[in-house]
Structures are given as C-alpha cells and as structure tokens.
Subunit: 478 residues, 4 copies
C-alpha cells in the first residue's frame, strides 16, 4: 500500500472507528434536536432535565432514583460511608458506551450526542459528565485519554486535543471533584493490535511511551490520585508467533520508565496494574493478581505498583472476586477496585453493575481489612446492558451499584461487630498461638525438632472446619 493511501486510511479510521466503538453513538445532530446548540459544543440547559439530584431516602423508599443504603455522611465503623467507598464514575462506559457488540450496532441514542467525534462534542460530553457526577453525588471520575478527546493525525495533534478538553475538565472540576485515576488507551487503535509495550514493533513501543507520558501528565494536572495500566493487548493470541520472554522484558522496561517519569514530574499518585486473564488477547500477561505480583517481583517493581482488582476479571481468571482482593491485600498491593460483576455462566467480560449483596459484603470485608482503599477507591467499570436505552437507566444502574456496595459495607460492619465469624476463624488457628507455634512462625521450626514433637504428640486432633456454620453466620448478616 502506498504512503498516500495509508495516510488517508488513518484519517478515515480515526473518524469511523471512534464513532463505531469507543465513541459516543451517532445520535441527535445539532441541526435536528432543539436542545442541541451549535457546533461549538454548547448545550442549553440541563443534560438530564428529568433527573433530580439523587438523595438518600432509606430502605423503605420505592423511588428508583434514591439511595436506600448509601448515605454518604453516615458513619460506619468510625468512618463516613463516602470515605470507605470513594466512588468514581467511569467516563468511557457512561459517556462513550454505545451499546455496540461484536454482533450488533450501537443502540444508545443519548440526546446530547451529535454523531461526531469532534472536539466540540468532546467538550459537550464533558459537561454532561459533570452534571451526572453532581446529580449522583460522586466526586471522582476515571478516564482514558482517547475517551475524553479525539485522536489526532499526529501525537502533537492528539495532545493538543487532549489539552483543550482537559482544560475544560479542570474548570468544571472546581475544588471538590478530581480523577480517581487516569490512563492511556493503548488497545483501540489498530497500531496497538499486537500490544503497546509488548508490541514487536519498536515504533509502537515508542508511541505507547509518548501516549502514557502525556496521559500521566494530564492525570497529574487534574489532581488524579492514581494512574492505571490495563494491558488489554499486552499478551498473545498464539505462542507460535510470539517471543513471550522478550515481550515481558520489554514490558518491564516500559514500567521502569513509567516509574522514572512519574518521579521526574512529581506525580505522587499510585501506579496501578489491572489484571485480566484474557480478552481481547488469548492470554494477557497480567493474568491475575498473583501473576502480576510475580512480574513486579521479578523485575524489582513490587514497591512501585499496586493493583486495580476488577471483579469480572477475577471470575474470568477462575477466582472469586474476594480471592483476588485478598491475594492483592496479602501481597500488600491492593490499591483500587473496579466495581463490576460478570455472569457466572459467561466466558467474557460483561462488565455488569454489581447487584449481588452477598458478593458486595465479601468485597467490603476485604476493603475493611485493608484499612480502606485510599488513595484508591471504587470505580464503576460497569456498563448498561446493550438493551437498556433510556437515559434514566444510566442513573438507575449507578444508584443500584452504589447501594449494593453500601449495603455490603453495612453487612460487613454487622459481621465485624457481631464478631462470631472472626471468633470461629481465630479458634481454628489457636494451636499456633503457642510456644512451638511461635517458634515455627519465627522460622525456627526445623524438621528434626518437628519430627520429635510429632512422634511425641501422636495422632493429632483435627477439628471440624465448620464451613456450613460460617456460611450460616455470613448469610444471617445479609
């Protein structure tokens, strides 16, 4: 293909692919809808005129647009609910989700969308975002660079677009709102089809670096508290054409450079790796928490990163979400939670809002054990079902998601205050709360000594694990 053709292709591609997949749906053009203002991105009045500010009304309320369990200022276990939860809205699902799927076209027809991926539209969307945050009562948001501002023909142009939108976001944030985290989208553009940091193409590695550099800068500028790496394309489709060792080495070099750059610019946010086992790749290098931890330890990066655990990714990896949270916590690297859920019978990422109170209770037990998540929090990396097409559905989904986790927090607190589950666990291990136990735990239990003790003690007594009792206690708290 000739160079001219390639350039033209890239131009089209930018337009079309953004529209199609990451972009907002092609709805409501300015010249048709009366609410839509001019090309300048202005929008008269509210984006969500029928939606009031969501308030706490308690469990007996029948109002779908109220919180039944989330009461931001209420104290639970000595901390305000909002400080436990640190909720964040994901810009991409909420404002760039189109309802498109591998078998179908976009389905969302939000009134404020004009069907373009223009800068003006990007700004209009940003205004909608802040109205949404305000009405929902959430003061954090998360974004990918390319979600909030259109790709340009060159890095310079992309950066300029980003700067323009970020300036507006900064203004709209005011003093109360800021990003929970920012990140760079290194998976959508075809240049990243073989990966970013692990692409076999040197040019793509460099391009990724440039994009992460800028995304980190704007995250810092907006007061972001964390920066996330989700390596959706950092993996392989088949080992037959892959040099996995070389790719992992490249990934480590990339992460080292990111750490160095973070320090250089004085960004104090936490760097977070988000594990996922597969999809879109057959195998993603950050498969699960343990795999990511192994990578970080192997390359001496364990003190520089934490993990962003996503519940749907956990289950795709064959783990419960609770397991992944505990694995991260025990390794000292639980940094943030992408609050969603999958379908237990589905083998791909459905990114549903977490609606199961039992699961939410387990999640909150981990969070409490971790002493909270700050500077991380809960990001709603969750999307409306493709078939949910009313504007109010966006609110309903977030309200239900927030309420579910809030109810989980209340239940977890109940369990902790009741104490009988903790007591059941304590008792199981009490034989180690002894002199020999302490000796073993201090690394002084050699095989000779232990054999002698074992012979002396005879057949050990082994107690019931009381799993059904533990489950009964757990369910009673729900």
């Amino acid at each position: 293909m000739k160079a001219g053709k390639i350039i033209f292709f890239l131009l089209c591609l930018n337009l079309v692919s953004n529209l199609a997949i990451a972009a907002g749906p092609p709805t409501c053009p300015a010249d048709v809808a009366s609410d839509c203002a001019s090309d300048s991105g202005e929008w008269k009045g509210e984006f969500f005129p029928d939606i009031p500010k969501i308030k706490y009304e308690g469990p007996s309320s029948k109002n779908h647009l109220s919180f039944k369990w989330y009461n931001a200022e209420e104290e639970i276990l000595g901390r305000k609910m909002k400080d436990w939860m640190r909720f964040s809205v994901a810009f991409w699902h909420t404002f760039r989700g189109t309802g498109g799927d591998p078998f179908g076209a976009p389905t969302k027809m939000w009134p404020w969308e004009d069907g373009t991926n223009s800068l003006a539209m990007a700004k209009r969307r940003m205004r909608a975002n802040f109205e949404f945050l305000n009405k929902l009562g959430v003061d954090k948001w998360c974004f990918h660079d390319r979600d909030i501002a259109p790709d340009g023909k060159t890095i310079e142009e992309s950066n300029a677009n980003l700067d323009e939108v970020v300036a507006l976001a900064k203004e709209l944030q005011g003093t109360k709102i800021h990003p929970l985290w920012g990140t760079a989208q290194l998976f959508h553009h075809p240049r990243y089809m073989h990966g970013g940091a692990t692409s076999p193409e040197l040019g793509v590695y460099a391009y990724s670096a440039a994009q992460v550099k800028k995304a980190m800068e704007v995250t810092h500028y907006l007061g972001g508290e964390n920066y996330v790496f989700w390596g959706g394309r950092e993996g392989y489709q088949t080992l037959l054409n892959t040099d996995m060792e070389r790719e992992l080495n490249h990934m480590a070099r990339f992460m080292e450079a990111a750490v160095a750059y973070k320090k250089k610019i004085g960004f104090n946010g936490t760097l977070l790796i988000e594990p996922k086992p597969q999809e879109p790749t057959k195998h993603q290098y950050d498969w699960d928490a343990a795999t990511a931890a192994n990578f970080l330890r192997k390359y001496g990066l364990i003190d520089e990163f934490k993990l962003n655990i996503e519940c749907n990714h956990a289950t795709l990896a064959g783990h419960s979400c609770h397991h992944e949270l505990e694995t991260a916590r025990i390794n000292g690297i639980l940094g943030n939670i992408d609050a969603n859920t999958g379908d237990p019978q589905i083998g791909w990422d459905t990114d549903q809002f977490m609606m199961d109170v039992g699961e939410a209770t387990l999640v909150m037990l981990s969070v409490i054990k971790n002493g909270g998540l700050a500077p991380g929090g809960f990001n709603f990396d969750a999307k409306l079902r493709r078939e949910s097409t009313d504007v109010e559905d966006i609110f309903i989904a977030h309200v239900a998601g927030m309420d579910t986790l809030a109810r989980g927090l209340r239940n977890a607190a109940k369990l902790i205050e009741d104490g009988s589950l903790a007591e059941l666990v304590r008792k199981r291990y009490q034989s180690f709360d002894s002199e020999i136990g302490a000796q073993i735990e201090a690394g002084k239990g050699d095989f000779d000594m232990l054999e002698k003790k074992a012979m002396q003690w005879g057949e050990p007594k082994v107690s019931s694990a009381k799993q059904e009792l533990a489950e009964m206690i757990f369910q009673a708290a729900i």
Copy 2:
C-alpha cells in the same frame, strides 16, 4: 425523543454502524488508489493480482499457496473429494470482516475497499468474492442479506438494494457457482436488540418476517441449496425481564410461517437451524443440537428442519464438535457444518479456521457415517485473526482450512479401511446381537423377563472398554 430525531438517527446509524461492524473497513478510497476506479464500483484488473489459482501440489510442497491434501477430483471412499467436502466461502467474514473487536477498531485495509457502505462498493466487493472463489477453486458461497447489500431507509429500499446486488451475483455465478445457503441478518441492527422472532415488540416480529421472506426469495433465485436460521438475539439477557414461554411460542409460529412460505414459493432447499449456546445473549434458545431438536419436536417441526452445526458453538456449549455432529446425525437432522474451531481456553466465539487434524478426522468420521452432507456442505464460518492483515492471509487461511479437512477425510478413510476401530466397537456390543438382545431392541424386554434372566445368569461379565487402545488406533491414522 422526537420523531424527526429518530429518523435522522436511523439514517446516521445505518451509515455508521454498517461501516463500523458489519461493513468493510474504511480503506482505499477511489480518489487515492490508482487501482480503484470510479464510484460506479468498477475495478480495473484483478483484486488479487499476486495470488495465482491455488493448485494441488501434494504434501511435500513448500508453497503456502498450494493444496497439500485437498485434491478436488481425487476419489476417496468412492466419491470425489469435492463432493465429500462441498466447500463454501462465508461472504461476511471474508469480505465484511474488519478486524474490529469489542476493544479495538478495524485493522484490515483491503485495497478494493473505499470506506463506504454504498451500493457501488457492494458490487465491487461481489466481484472480489467471485475472483476469490475462482482462485480458490470453490463453487459455493454463503451470505446474509445485509452483508451483500446496504440497508435502506425502508424495507422497500433495502429490498431494492438487495435486488440490484443479487442480479450482479447471479450474473457472476454463471452456471457453476451458487450459494450453499443464504440467510437474513436479524442481529446487527438495533431494532433487533431484543431478538427478531422473539422480540417483545410486535413490529420487530413483523419486520423480521419481511426480511426473512425476502432473503429466502433471493436465496431461491440464486439457486441456494439451503436457508439458515441463526438466532443470535433469540434468547435472553436475564430471565427477570423475560417471558421465555411466550418468546418460544413466537419463535415456533415464526418457523411455521417460514416453512409455509418456503412451500408457497417452491423453494426446495433445506431449512437449517444453527445452534449456539450464548453470545451475544446470555442464553440463546437454540443452545445446542439437543435443545434445537427438542424445540422442533415440541412444535411438530422436526421433519421440516435440519441443523447447521458449528464446531466453535459446540465447544462453547460444553460439547466436542464430534458430539454435536453425532447428536444431530442420530436425530436425523445433520444438515450442514460451519467449519471452524475455537480455543479450548476461551469462552467466546473465536471463529478460527480449523487447523487441528485430529479434530478434522473426527468431523469427517461423522460426515462419512451420515453419507455425506449434501445438499449441505462445509461453510468456512471462520475469520482471519484481527492481527492478520495481509491480503494473502485470506488465502493462506482458506487453503489451510481446506487442507485440514481434506487431511481429516483421508485419515477417516484410512480408519474405515483399516477397520480395527469399527471392530473394537462392534465387539463391545455383541452381546446384544443375540436373541434376548433382539427382543429388548424390539421393545419386548419387560422387567419380569429381564429379572428372571438376570437371576439365572448371575453376575455379568464386564469387559474392558479399551479406550487407550481406541485412542492409539485413532492416533496412528493421523
């Protein structure tokens, strides 16, 4: 939303969503590439100038663009290879596959694409299809209505578009080529988000009927031998909002109407249901072969339909492809095979070309037992990996896929001619080749008689199942 806005939306949507997902990639605009002619869809010279007609060169050839195992005219078990295989190219994957996935933009930049979903482009693409078929030496193809011609603003306009492209296809087909099957695309447009025949919206049910009616007509016109129903959206995302019983009743009514219409227009092709367990829905009503058979029996349709078994769908349903083929065969409804494969560790449809000779051998054993597939055949419902972006990759994939199945046929013939596997099976059941066995098989083995025999015979002798020996024999034939 006001009516005017909806209409505009649908206009945009048609343009954009087709481009984005089902449509060809936005490449090679006419005014850039010298090979691209005018808007009329003309294209000078060959579409695949660097690809010669693929020939059989035998297993020792190192030429990627030759057949090593598929020798169309060679006889195997008394039938020409081409008559066993009845290969067909899937228009959608081959000419409308863009490389887009849920996380990424299109990656394919085929030189003949101009980035539009115009009628002119549709015709140009159809010419490419026939050059491809000719170079590959395949005389059947499969299509969805909306793959080959653009959606219009109304049914009438869509039908007119379809007629225009179909007329060209008819001309290009000549006397040797015709569709293995045609079908209607009832899953891509947002109107089908809740299903077609099972949509809760009456208007969508009617729209589906209109679309199937037309698709069946053009399939008939083109000399298609079968007509396929893949109910990608006929299922549910959650039972909480679904009346499954009513939806299944609707689906049955729809199928009855399809049978009646087929007879009315004198279309003698086989109607095929294509089972798939899920994706895009959480549950698809045609989950697997047994589920589809139960539906057909319940509604008295078992004699009017056969099944189109897709290997990747089989494994997503928890079965081997061989199992699904045998289930269909035993129920008398094995009609066609969508020849592809999945990844054993992946929980979504990857539609890869079948490259495993062992699997292909099992598939061919079923086909031979079925006495072949005619009027069905093997449709390559398989797509290039997103990262395979050379034009020659389209050929390499089809050549490898055809060769794998051809090798499977050769191996299956070897196994059958050797006879030792069949003998092992015959021996296992020989106790039923007796008088009492015949009595039981004739439905005359009542419990009183059987108890008497069991008491008389004493403890039965039970032989080894010889699984490892069967596997050894099987592997030796590969």
Copy 3:
C-alpha cells in the same frame, strides 16, 4: 482370571467398596463404644443426644439450631410453608456420606457407625435417620436401594437384605413420614462401569432392570410419591468406542419397560429423570432439561416422565438453576428439585447446601409459577463439606439449607405481592396483546401479511429492556 477368583473378588469388593465409598465410615465399633449396642443393630438412647428438636425462633435468634425463616405452619401466598417446600432428607449424603474424595479417605466418625456394611448396621442407621427427620421436623426422605441395605452376593440376597431394612423403615415411618422418592443405585458397583440401561453388556442391562424393578416395588411399598432415574453412568467416556445411537435406543427401551412395570404394579408415583451434563462420565445422555425433553419426545415418553432438576447440575451444564427450572416448567415437566448448589468456579459437582438467598428466591419464583411441586418436593441432595466433622454440622447444614429456601419463598412472595417486576415484564410484551398479536399467536401470521404490516408500520419502536431496574427491584426484595 478364573471363576473362583472372580467370585472371591466380588465378595471382597462388596465389603470393601461399600465401606469405602457409599458406606458409612468405619467408626465406633460395637465393642468399643459404650453407646453402641450389640450386633443386632440396637442402639441405646438417642443418636443425637445433644440436639433438641429444631424450632422456629424467628430472624433475630442467635441459636444455630433454630429456624429463623422456616415456619412450617405459617401461610405464604395462601399455602403453608411446609406445603410449598415439601422438604426431604437424602439418606445417602446424610447417613452414607463418609467425606472420602478422589484424593482422600473418609473423615466422618459418627458415633453410631461400627465400620461395617452389615444388615444390623443398616438397621441402626435407619433408626438414626428417623430420629434425624423427627428432630428436624421433616416428613419425607429419599434413598437409593444400596444405601439403605447392603448388596448381596446375588440379586435374591440383595433383595432379601432390602426387604428386611424396608420393613423396619415402614414401621419407623408410622403414618406421617414416607419417601419423597426412591431410586436404584446403578453406578457404584463395577458391573455398571459402562452404564446400566446403556451398558454394551446385555447381562448388565438385565441386571439393571431387575434392580429398578425391585427399587420401584419398595418405593411403592413405602408410600413413595416419585421414582427417580439418575443415569450417572448412562453416557460415554469417549465416542471412539461408543455406539451412541444404539445406547440411546436401549435407554428408551428400558424407560418404556419401567413405565409398563409401574402401571402393572399400580404405582402411581411420578417417574423423574434427573439431568446432569457429566461426571462421572465425560458426557451423560441426560445432559440438561432440554436434552432430556428431546429424548422423551423422540421416544414418545414425554407424558410419562417429569424432571428432577438439581441446581448444581444446572450450573455444570452452563445454565443457571433458574433457567433449568423454567425450561422444565415450560415443557410441562418440572417435577422435583434437588436443592443444592455448586461453586461458580468449580467444574465438578460439589453438592453444597444452598446458602444464597438470591438464588433461593429465583428458585422459589419458578416453584410458585409452577403451582408448587407436589407430588414432588425439595430433596436435600447436599452433603457436608469433607472437613465438617461434628455431628451438629449435619443439623446446622440442613437448618441453614431449609432457612435459605424458606427465606427465598418469603422474598418471592414479597416480589409477587409488590407486583412491579411482573408489571415490568407485562409491559414489555404488551404489543402482542393486540389483534395482530393474537393472530400471530394463533398461528395465522403468514409472511405476506407480516411483510405488508411491516412496510406499513415503518421502523418499529424498541423500548429499553430495563434490566438494571429489574435487578434493582429484585435485590430490594431480598
């Protein structure tokens, strides 16, 4: 192997294999434990001296050995809770479960077990069963023939053993207790390694018939309301050595003979097939509800059988339990529920007690829609975890399991009384509550008419599916 050796082998095998797997654990021999009486199976005093009769104490009770939600005589939706639930204890898990698993030895050391599989021990165990039922307040039980009485050297001896234990059970049942269902164990003995009704050995087919004949007789004698077929070995390990078509024909002949025998002896109980996808076989012929229904329809048996849906089997087949219940219900064959649950991350049957209130609520929604389950009910086909080794754990597990389902019933009633979920569903389908809708549903919607309507109506309006709202409403009821 010589005949003498085989006979001896079978003798040992009977002793050992029963001990090891199906049998009670080798504990508390009569001559050691003071509570254990003589060889006659007598046992002085209570089996569960530390466990009181379980009473309803309401949700605020902290007593593990009380019901918090199950209040047998309380009316819910116009029916007593006990009549909705019709709970049954599974004799095998409760009294023959040893805690053995593929990697480990038995772990249970129940005081009443003497380590043998003697007739005397069988009777002692039966007495324990009835004390358990009485203390739990459950008046139904389920059994396999070989669980309750030891295998003999011949069919005659096995039958005699069974008669002896059954006579005692009949006496202990009194007037209030009877089996929910009985069944024959056609999977444990090595003679059944290739199946019972689908064994390639004629002698095994006959043996199976003799065993089912007797098991049906004793079920009838004890007043059992149903008879179950779980075809654990009716399937295949590899298709390479299997004639699946012949095996399925044999299975159908066997089921026909069972129906005939049921009528002959005047047994009016329901015959139930229990679907399971796999384990111990690679593929079980009764894979799921739809597969079983297809089998029944194909062989004209659909009116003679219903299904026993087991939740853990549903999830192993890739379905939610709710889906399988609804599939059975819609096909008119929902007969009984094996109330257990699996682990969403585990690929084998864990048979855990159902402890999830959300799942229980969905289950009860199906049961209510079905108008209840009678003459079927809920059988606790659930076992203590291997590590739960206290006698009280048996009670705790059953109490929690009963309470979970009772709570599910209360929640389901709340949802039904509230009505908003049903209203959401009704509205989705209301376009079919029209003249054209009625015409379609009556089978009079041909393609010509539908096309005309579709053209006339133009682009159909498609509403939001409101899944998140449905989930919010559902969760609020929990």
Copy 4:
C-alpha cells in the same frame, strides 16, 4: 468421642481407607489364585506373563505392544531420545490405581493383588513395578511414601514399613534404575483434611514435617534426582473460615525448613513444586506457574525450587500446557513435566495419557528450548480409564503415551530443522534489533527520548502477525 474409640477408629481407618482409595484393589487373594504365593509376598513367575519386552518396530507396525515412534537410542537433535525424554512410571496410578471414583467402586482386578494393604502385598507390588519398568524399557519411577508402604499406627511404625519396602526397591533397582522423584502423601489421610503445611492444627504441621523428612531421606537413599511438593490440600474450601495470609506464611516456613533439611542430609536433588489450581480444594495455593513463582519470590525461595508442570493442571487453570511450560522456562524454573492431558470439556483432573500429537509437539518445543529437563524428566502422571480393566491396557497406555511424546520430539525437531517458524518469529521482532531497540532493552529508553522518537517517526507501520501461516507451518510438521 472417647480416646479409646478414636484409636480404634484410626486403626480401622488405616485398613479401610487405604483399601478403598489409595490401595490396590481387593483382588486375587492368596488362597484362591494359584499364582499367588504365601503371605510373604512371594509371587511365582512373571506378573505379566503375556506381555513381552516392548520393542521399537517403527510407524508401520500394527503390533499394539511395540513402539512406533520411540526409539530409545536414536539420536534427535544430537541427543538420544531416551535422554530427551527421561521417562518415569508413576507408581501410584500404575500400581495403586483402583478405578474407584466419587460415584463408583474399584474396577481393577489385577491378578497379583490380594485385597490387603499389607507389607507383604507392598513388596509383591514393588516386584511387579520393576518387571513393568523392565518390560517397558523405562529406568525411572516416581512414588509417594504411602503408595509403596502401608501407613502404621505411629510415625515410627510407618517409617519402619517404609524402610522395609525401600530396602527391597533399592535391591530391585540395581544399578540402572532409580527414582525420578519421590514425595510424601500429605492429602489422603483425614488428618490432612485442612492441609499439611497449611493446616490450622499445629500437630498436623509437625506431622507433615516428619513425613516429608522421612520421604526426602528415602528418596535420597534410592538415588532419586528430585523431590516433589504437590500441595493438594494446601489451599482453602472457603475464605470465610480461612486465614490465608497466616497459612501462606506457614507454607513458606515449611519450605524453608525443607531446603535446610535437604542441605543437611546432602541431598542434591531438585526440589519441585507442582502447581494445580484446585481439586480437591476450591483454591490451591500453588494455582499455576506464575502463582508458585510469586510465592517463591515473595519468600526468597526462587533459587531453591523449580516447578513440576502437569499438563492437565495447566488446562484446569485456564492455560495451555505449552503456556505453563513457557512461563516456567522464562522464569528459569522449569524442572519436570507430569505428562498427561485432560479433556477440554471437563472441569476436573482426568489424568489421561497424552495422546494428541499436536500438543506433544508443543510440549517438546518447550523442552528443547529449555535444553532438556535433566535432572527432571517426564513422569507419566496418568491413569487408565476406570473402564480399562485388562492388564495389557496398562502397557498399551504407556506405549501410546511414550510414542506420542516421541512423535512430538520428532515433529519439534523437524520444525526446528526447517527453521521457517523460527524465522517468522525472528522477523516479527527485528525492529528491536536496532540501536534504539538495544537501548530500550538495556533499560535506557526513557519517556522523553521515546516521545521524541515517536513524534519524529510518525505513524508506525504494523505488520501482519501471520498466525494462520504459523499454524499452517506447524501442522505441516505433524
């Protein structure tokens, strides 16, 4: 339960549980079978009189009891086949496998078994093992302590039993045969129901230490080249009752003590951890290669251990076997392979003999890249299907398994000698074989420099991944 009862229980349990699960099947008692000698464990003549020594006869042989591909002394890529393969027979599957499964009794009736777990029987079995090794032409074997010698009432008695059998094994080994590895069985006895090193019971921890100490000693004494840890019970069933952090700390202390003891006794063999994701536990701490590596790194043990990768465990963890081998290799810890395979549709460990040539070729590609496995090798951790009950089946399975891997080696060598697959991979990464590439790989590619380069280079060229071509090349070698 009183102490007396417990002791009695343990006595019975030892007898019964060993019989039932780990023990040989209860066949051929000495007083029935003429070939069975006295209680002394003597056995006249051959154990496998009908089986000749297995010889290489080449691919055209129809003799099931011959090698078609494994030719021990033949050189492939400069090394004898036997030195690449280093095959080992697993004593447990081959001589203690009974065919019992969770739903069924033992099915194997080997003529040499007398139905006991006596010391005499243990010795007889050991003689059978060595005849088997000799006839198969394999000079390595693997064992668990409790497989080869019966458990005693005390550690001392167990050790004495072990010593007696080990002395015989040492004698039978002669100069040519020795263990590939030994290990301790810390999962079968009920004392280990909560784990060994991770049991919450201090006494069990000590008991485990005593058992590993002894097993390591006898492995060393027999000339074993490796020692394996498979932590089948080191994990959890539910996090509700588990202190995962404390358990992992205990496991690390245990491993440290094992390293210290190895050094103390001068055992130079490699310590191997065998990852498995689950079964029997819901979660096993050594989930997969990456998880085990993370554990080893976290506790500073990465240089003291390697991994024993089992193919069926890999697939249960959601990985291909090839992936796990490559992950271990890249982390520098690929030590041994347990050569088996699972069923892609089954969610538990089936431990089948690897019969797929494609999979074997991938495995051998990793082995060759690793420079071989020594001092590790291939252990046949694979068992006959339950339904394979002829003595010859044991040989057929091993012959087929060895041939499959040998054929994999030949194919891998063909691929390597052909070179086109390696060339395809080399080309993909060639942009990094440049100055900037070298700079990045040396850790000197900072973001500022990379951004500058990216801006200067413009849109990077991204080549096709050629996956289908790679698959075509791979399949051609098979």
